[in-house]
Chain length 174, copies 3
């Protein structure tokens, strides 16, 4: 597959590359999912941003709260049903233990690739200067208090506060 | 957990706060999911944007059409399988009634927090000046006509039209 | 529903329309899902962008890799459980064959609307000058090599490389 290494022909007609574009300065990531496979993309993107000198702000809301909650951070699961990408037949995916098995497999795979577990990722992000916020409404909805959260969480804020924190940032929703 | 209320030490080394950043002027939200738990984030973000004086444009596509469809807006459900964050064992999640029960619980919880139901949220957004559009392709795919939609929907438009409407906006996909 | 064709009253009080906003120049789309219903939105948005003269960069990661993998691109499925929008009772959704049936229905519907299948969409995007990248970490995680990918993929890159490619772009996560 030569096109993977050689420049493809259409690049000559595509718009000019990144030279004259303003570099990204700040990324803000809304993490709304609490599954293992959707926790990692936000954490990995934030980490890549910090490594590139880009400011990173994370806002954990809805199920995403589980990523920064002491009791749940180490128990995030990979869904095996409703997830055809797993290539597990739906009937089997629902069997007891399948979800735990898939989660263990993913965790082992991440470990092999030297990717820290979710708790460690949160610590690394904190050390790197990323800001992490919990959504007040989601906290109320799931009846959680600040004491339930990981110590790396900076503050519990509202969606409106989040817009202030995300000013000038590229915002993505996961 | 003192770090939640006190400034954390790394804020001194992090980039400067929001003072000199351009404020967000316009957010455009693509709503592609029709579940109750994924309908709220878009509506709540749009509402928070309007309350902060930020222009808000919503584009409802794929399953997201259910949020602005008369026959479905009051029947949005929370998935109980394929959603490990629910902490319901997969086998139980599939039992008849479980999804309805989880949806009822979430609706009651939102009510307790004084968060309007989805239909009211759409009305409030309309009153606040948010623009809501339906995706023409999704309308065709699900064989819906303009008569099927809530009256707050401004227009049925194509993805290309959406890019016009979203010019200069921060775009997020839910 | 007259409001769909006539201008709605609130447009007069809403912020000025798009005239004085900078047009979008570049959209970068992170495709993290491998289901048929979540593959199309990214491909369709990228296509609409190219048709509007907007540069488009796609980054396939996690389950999204299936969209650009030779062995999986023609077998993407629509989830029937964990997807209440399908309006299929959860118990039935898990029956063998239901997922295949829903996927076939969606594919036929797309065909009726003259929307190319996923493989063709990738080819069209490539012809239009969109750039498509695979995530190195996801490649390692799923043990795939460049030979497993569609020839339209430009390169396998890291998340940090992606931030370079996405400089100045509006980034969305699907």
């Amino acid at each position: 597959m030569a096109t993977l290494t050689e420049p493809t022909t259409h690049t000559t007609t595509a718009p000019a590359a990144t030279e004259d574009r303003p570099p990204m300065e700040h990324i803000s990531i809304i993490c709304s999912k609490g599954t293992l496979d959707m926790a990692y993309p936000g954490l990995i993107l934030a980490n890549a941003a910090r490594m590139s000198g880009i400011e990173a702000t994370l806002f954990f809301t809805f199920w995403g709260l589980d990523i920064i909650t002491e009791n749940t951070v180490d128990k995030l699961h990979v869904p095996t049903v409703g997830n055809p990408s797993m290539h597990i037949p739906t009937m089997l995916g629902g069997l007891p233990g399948m979800e735990g098995m898939a989660s263990t497999m993913m965790k082992k795979q991440m470990e092999k690739l030297d990717i820290p577990d979710v708790r460690e990722m949160v610590e690394i992000l904190d050390d790197s200067g990323a800001e992490m916020y919990a959504c007040r409404m989601a906290m109320d909805m799931f009846k959680r208090t600040e004491e339930d959260l990981l110590p790396q969480v900076t503050e519990v804020i509202s969606a409106m506060d989040f817009f202030d924190k995300a000013e000038g940032a590229q915002t993505i929703f996961i």
